[in-house]
Each structure stands twice: as C-alpha cells, then as structure tokens.
Symmetry: D2
C-alpha cells in the first residue's frame, strides 16, 4: 500500500536559493533600492503601458508618494489573442522617459528571448510573469543576464516549484532574484486569485531570497488591495507591487483592480504605521 501513497516523486534539492546553504537574508539591489533590507519597497504603476501621458502622470504621482520603483507592462501576456498585447519597444521607451524624468527605477515584464534582450537593455529589473514561471528556456536566459529579476509565482505553482524556478535562474548565473506572491488559483471565485500570504513565512524559512506581494492581481478588485497590502507587510513581506492608474475605468487591462492616484496615496500613508509596528520602515 505504501507505494501507492508515494507519488510525491523526486526530492527537490534547491541549493543556491536555500537558506540551508546561505543562512543570512539576501539583499537584492536595484539602483539605490534594496529588497530584503529593513525598508519595505513599494513598486507602483499601471498594469500596461498605454500612452506617454498615462505613464508620466502615474509616474509623477507615484514619485510624489515616495515610491522609487515604477511598474508597467510593455509586453502583455493576455488570455485572448484579440486583447491588447502591449506597446512593445515603444512602451519601453515611454517607461525610460519616466525613469529619466523622475529618477525612478523601472521594472517590466519579458515574455521571450527577444523581449528579454530589449527589457534588459531599457529597464532596471526584469519581471518574469506567473504564466512563464516554468518557461525554463526563459529562466535560463534571464539566468545569464546580470539584471535583478522579479519572479512571480505561477498561477498554481507550489512553493517548491517556485523556489525551483528561482534555482534555475541562480544555477544559470544570476543570484539577483526577488520573489513575488500574486495569488494562487483555487475554487473561490469572489477574488480573482487567493492571495497566499502564508507563503511569506514559509519562503522566509526555506530561502534567503526577498519576497514581495502583489495584492492587485491577487484580489482583482481595488477595494480589497489596501487591506491585503497591509496584511502582506504584517506577514513579513519585503515589499509590495501595486497597480495604479490615473483613470481605472478607461484602462486597457485590469482596470477593476487598479487604485486611483488618490486611493494609492491613502494606502501608502496607511502602510507607514504598520511597517513601524513590525520594526521596519517604508
């Protein structure tokens, strides 16, 4: 009978990302920004780069609130081939303009070898999205850049598989990895995904890598973003990535989960006492 219950397969020996072999916390630097240190890093910006105006307006607001990393997708993995697929190279240039104008760091997604080359050239941090978490060919490629990587958890990835995806990147030469919990797929339909905040203490125990939380994609609804952002920080996350849009109702993707600039400012203010309560700063 015992053989029946033992499908769990091969042991999962992550090494480079394991806390066993590297007991102290890793600090990953993106310019002057440090992930994994005492400061909570907030990344903010629109889901997709839609226009120069939209990005510059969001970026200015984000900058004002003290945020130093801008997000925005130029290459968008969309469920439907008929949905807006991103501005591509043009989008990267718009992000670059915001960066130069406002002194922001930029993180944006690469979806294949071709876009990776451009993103690595124009951005400060490369995002690997949930749908590509086990695109091993892409993981190997980002492993051979030196760029900091933001590795989102797959839609239904186990924590072991996620750390193994990080191990791919590290094993191919790039130890600069920040993990991002963005909700997992469950039977519950009220929220877009189920934000698995317990992944934070589990990952902290297993690995030395920093971990941040994306409450926007996880909940799928702007009004639930703020409480889950505060909860993420209280659970021990090293940062947050938040969708902000100057006019959510006109967003080309994910409008319902984007905060307005006003709500985003309120959120940042409410985060301050929570970060202090757990002995960290914003």
């Amino acid at each position: 009978m015992s053989s029946v219950g033992q499908l769990s397969s091969e042991p999962r020996p992550y090494k480079l990302v394991s806390r066993v072999f590297h007991p102290e916390d890793s600090i990953i630097r993106v310019g002057a920004v440090e992930f994994g240190g005492p400061r909570i890093v907030v990344i903010a910006g629109p889901c997709a780069v839609e226009s120069r105006t939209q990005v510059l307006q969001s970026a200015a607001c984000v900058r004002e609130t003290g945020v130093s990393v801008l997000r925005g997708g130029a290459y968008k993995p969309r469920t439907s081939p008929y949905s807006f697929q991103g501005l591509g190279r043009e989008g990267l240039k718009i992000l670059d303009e915001a960066r130069q104008q406002l002194g922001l760091m930029v993180v944006t997604e690469a979806v294949d070898h071709e876009s990776l080359e451009l993103v690595a050239e124009w951005a400060d941090m490369v995002q690997i999205g949930a749908r590509n978490m086990q695109n091993f060919s892409l993981l190997k490629a980002v492993g051979s850049t030196k760029k900091p990587i933001l590795l989102k958890r797959g839609l239904a990835a186990t924590i072991d598989e996620w750390l193994m995806a990080a191990e791919y990147i590290a094993a191919h030469g790039n130890p600069n990895i920040v993990l991002c919990e963005r909700g997992i797929r469950t039977y519950e339909g009220k929220t877009r995904n189920t934000l698995d905040l317990s992944a934070i203490p589990v990952v902290k125990q297993l690995s030395h890598l920093p971990i941040i939380v994306d409450p926007s994609h996880a909940t799928g609804h702007w009004s639930w973003v703020a409480p889950m952002a505060r909860a993420g920080v209280a659970a021990g996350a090293d940062g947050l990535i938040i969708e902000v849009h100057p006019n959510p109702q006109e967003a080309l993707s994910d409008g319902s989960q984007s905060l307005t600039l006003v709500h985003f400012r309120e959120l940042v203010e409410s985060l301050r006492p929570v970060t202090h309560a757990i002995g960290r700063q914003l």
Copy 2:
C-alpha cells in the same frame, strides 16, 4: 454556447446576514467581550481538553496575557475513528472549572444535537467546526438557541456558502454569529490549509458580521502562526483564535501547530503595535 457557461445555479440571496439590509457592523457579545467593536478579541487555549492540569495551566497563562476567552475541544471531530475523540461531558466540566476559577469566557465545539445541548448549557459560545459548516440540521438547531455562535468556514466552502450557513442560523432565530476563517483546501502542501485572508475584506463588504482568524489550523505549524496572526489583524479581522499548549510535543491532537506558553506571550506582545497601527486596540 451561453447556456454551457451558466452553471452557477440559483442566486444566493442572503438577507439577514447581508450588509445591504443591515449596513452597520454587528457587535456580538459574549459576557463582557465584544466581537466586532474596536477591540481585537484573542481566543486561546488547547486544541483538545486532555486533562484538568493541562487546561488549568493553559488557562492561567492565557489569562495572564490579558486574554479573556478560552478555547478547548471536548467533542473532537477526528478524521480517524481510532484517534482520540475528546473527553465529552467530562471535558466540559474541566472547561467550566477554568472559567469559574479565572473568570474566562469559554468557547467549545458542538458536533450534534446531543453535544449541542450540553455545550449550550456549560459554555459561553458554541463553535460549529469546519466539517459541520453545511450540517444544516445542526445549523438549524444552533439557530434556535440564543448562544453566540462561532461559525468556522468549511474546508472548501466558498464565501457565499459560508454566509449562507450563517443565514441558516440567523433565519432560525439566532443573529449572534461570529465567522472564523481557518484556511481553505488547495493544492499547496507546505501548509495544512491555505489561509484566505482576502476573505476578510470580502466578508466585511458583503456582511455586517464580525470575522476572526484561526492561523493555527490554517498553517498547521507553530512557527508560522505569529506572522499570520499579525497579518490577520492588519487585514481587518476582529479577532484571533490561537492554539496554545503547555507542552505541544505531548498534545493528543495538533501538537505541531500549538504555541508554547512562552511563544504565545511573545505573540500577544507583538500584536499590540499592529492593532494600534490600524487604529484598534487589543
């Protein structure tokens, strides 16, 4: 094609528990304790009542830290018929002794009509466990008591089904309901369940009932209880229920998820600044 996608079935018109029909937050009183008010309520104690000494020792510690509600199971729903099933009526008397000796409120589980009668007589609050969340016969019975009810979310219950279970209780005459998120079943195996903290803001939007969090059953491992307790409070929960055992390694059930008395005291101290950070008290 549209008919294929519309299996979602009947509308779910909860009324009595809906915020639409009762916009202000409900406050549920158990003695002098108020669930749903500005104070975060902490319930603590062992998973199961095992002996007089174990309960009195846990209760004294819990009392010292300022906790005013004691938990402990006299009737234990166990997966195996060969596991310890609880002390039953004897367990209720032990809990009652702790209550009288220390001035604590007691919450304990009822598993059928017979145990409900005893629990309603001896305890201050009746717990309906996850496995009985859709035991509608039991829900109707607790609906006809006047006792405050702690209604745990089912192992794989949707938020709608959970609120409908509360509606059963309310519709049968008892509006004194406190909800308890205790983790849902997912594919992730590191944690015993996946604590769904986003259920807190969702429930707060849909219902006026108080909601608390059980990080012990959710994570299944004592070292993850404290961060998830802090996260629950930051997410807006009205309280916590925590497993504490004087000697977790000898516990007859769920030892791995129980805090020692020392760790529990540390947790309570760490909760104070978090509750203040979100404008509440402990």
Copy 3:
C-alpha cells in the same frame, strides 16, 4: 528543513475497509441487488421527492428500463435556508409506495439522527451525502444500523479521508458500505464539480468496497451525463446513480442536470455494449 515538509500528519491506518486485511472484493446486497459483483447496478430517480405523481412516473420509467433501485431525496441539504428542504416523512411514504407498487429498492438520504431513524425504517439503503461525509456523529449512528449505506465522497475530501469515513461506519459495526464518487471541487467552473474517475482504480487498489459514480451531480448538466456514465463504467465502477425527472424544467432542485425519461432510456441502451466490452453485465 525536512520538518517543514512533513505536515502530512498522522498515518491513516484504515483497517476494516482496507484491501490489505480483506483482499477479495466485498459484495454489498440490497435486496436481490448486488453491488460489487459482475453486474453494473444503475440507481435512478429524481433529485428530490416533489410529489406522488412525479415519483411514480419516474419510478415506472426507471423500472421499464430494467433499473431496480430508485433514488429520491425526502430530506434535502440545501445551500440556502430559503430553498425547498424536502417533504420529509411524507416523501418517504411516497418512495415506499413506488417501492411496493413496482418492486423497486429505494435509497434516500439521512441528514441527522432523527431522519436516519425514519429512513432506516422506510428505505432499503441509506445515503450519506457529500456535505455529511465528515459528520462523524452521523457516521457512528449509521454504523450501528445494519442498513446498507451509500457513502458519497465529500465536496473536497481526499480519498484517504473518504475511506476513513467508511472506516468510521465499519468500526461502529456496519460493513455494508458502497462508496460513491460524485465530483470534487476544483477551480474549473464549466462543470459543477470535477468528476474524479481516477478515484475508481485508486479506491479499488486500496479497498475492497464497491464504488459507484454520480455523473449528474458531478457535471451539473444533463448533456454531459451520458458520456461520463459510460466513462465511469469503463473505469471500473460497480454502478451509477443518475438523476431522472419527468419534466426537468419544472424540477424544484437540480433540473439542469436531470435526464428526461427518453434520454435516460437512451443512456441505459448505450451502457450495455460498454459493460460487455469490459466483461461485465448491466
């Protein structure tokens, strides 16, 4: 690190229902009907007993097609307290009339100790529904009757938990248990549940108990019932339980998943060659 991965908790030593201790298949008899023998048993009838006419009409049709077990709920566990809850004792009498008139065996659900007493008196086989699979108090009670039990798998029960629920019944004195796979809860929303047909060979390997399949509740849509019924038989199931309604569009519950009498006859005809193909009979 290893301690982190070992939450799977206590071993699960089912004994009485295990094939290790009882290598040959069990045959469970309900009158002249044998579950677990060479013949595939088909149970059919309406979801709920709604009226004398509806039951007698369904029963007559079912009888004509050679079916010898009638299903129909007199006590209905419904998600909402405002939905039709079943005719209760009156419903049992209607089922009994169909039984006497047509020589059918009757299986119907018990939801608590009180209804169990009546069901055990009036029906030939007692169904324990998915929502009560871990209602251990009820399992103990059916364990002390001698009635054959139809034990449905819980909405999100593991195979181990399901066999442990059967072990409860057996350990309390009743070995007459037939298991019923009725779909599990997953993220997929097209079907009401996800029919886990691989549970059949797994259960057959672990246990000597017969197992049948409920494609009606599993798929939630009448047009998918027939292919899944055929697949269940091909996977090795010992029987099927099918919802049939003289007029599905007027059913008080689960109309969308009920077959008309005409479609049911077609299904039974299509099952014959499949049962022969795997060396069994209908």
Copy 4:
C-alpha cells in the same frame, strides 16, 4: 453587491476554434493518421528520448501493436535545473531514425523558438507542453508554422483558457490543432494530477477540435493508466497518448507512470472492445 460577484472579467470570444462558427468536427491529419475521425489514435513511446536503443526498442513494440504515432521528448521541461534536460538535437535524430525505420509518425515537444525550428523540421507533429500552454510567444510561433500541433492543457488551466490558447495558434494561421487533456492540479495527492475526463464532452460541445487523453501524466502511476485510458475512450476522446518504456525502473524521467511493453500490449487489446462499444475503431 452585484459588482462584487462579477470578477469573471472580459467575455471569452474564441471564434476560430468555436463550434458556433464551425459546426462540424475538424479532422487533423498527421501523415495518414487522422485525429477526430472514426478511428481512435493511440500515440505511445517513452517520456524522454534517452538513447538510440531505448527508442528503437520502444518504437518496434509500439509498431507491432498497430500504433502509428511515436512520442518521446528531446527537450524536457523539468522542475529542477539539476534533472536530465533531454538530448536536444541528438534526440530528434534518434526519433527520426525510428520514424524512417518503422514508418511511424513522430510527435515531440518544442519549448522555445529555437527548439521549435528544429522540431518543425524533424518531427511530424509539435507538442506544446502543459507548462507552456500560456507561453503566448511560443503559441504565436507555432501558429505561423503549418505543422499539426498537440496542445496540452495547462496544469491549472480552465477549459476557456485552453481553448483561448488554441485560438492564439489558429489566429496566427495554423488551424491544425489537437487538444490533450492531461490532468489538472487539485488538492488530491494520491494521483499526480486529477484527470478531468468531463473536459471531453465540454470541449466537444464548445469546439470542433479533436481531443485526446494522457492518462500517464494524469495518474502518475502505471497501474491506473489502463482503466483511465478505457474511460477516456468511453467519454468520447479521439485518442490517447501513453508512456511506454522498455524498462521503466531505469527511466530517466517518469518511470513510475510508464507501462512495460507487455502491459502496453494488454492495454491496446483491452481498448478494442471499448472502441467498438461506442461505435468507433482502433
């Protein structure tokens, strides 16, 4: 309140793969083999190409049983970077030798643009694996080849997302798509995945594309492959893909789920009566 429940997002208007716009079944040809016609297509072979001997031996056996399509991975997406990653181009040459020697069609996986170019050159059908089902860059690339594509369902993909992935391929110019159900991720741990056979009638209703079943990856255990293969055919699948290895215990990947050559022959024999029972042939 209604806005809260409506996160289901944008409508999903697949067009090219929808049965609404193409009511009759599509037949996809790979050489003389037809997917979607009256004949059930069986694809068989090892999980990974390990050596010339292993492939030629498997291929010869497979050929003998009447199978005309050989599977075998030259590029292997593996959870760990330290696991065997496939023989790459060398593996493709071995598959080609088997093809030429035995007159077999070959299907093998492409994992990125580079391997796609080689696979499209050397093989008859290109597999897109579960982990790449939403690698939209790769989907677009296979859309611009004319090769038949075997599109596996993602680990936790909904049926809608899966059909949308097919729509990507079709919208980029390639209508030659065969879908493959290979099990979805659920909480159940006895089986490697949960084979969702109800996806077959659902997909048949929504789309005109052929669909086959992979019981090897789904169950993860060789002894459950045969019953689930028979069930897949009974549910209406157009074919099967089965792992076969001359010596499963020495396989470099997925040995526990591979059939020996003897067991495979037995399986094929047992499939014949089932296919006839539902009016098809092998």
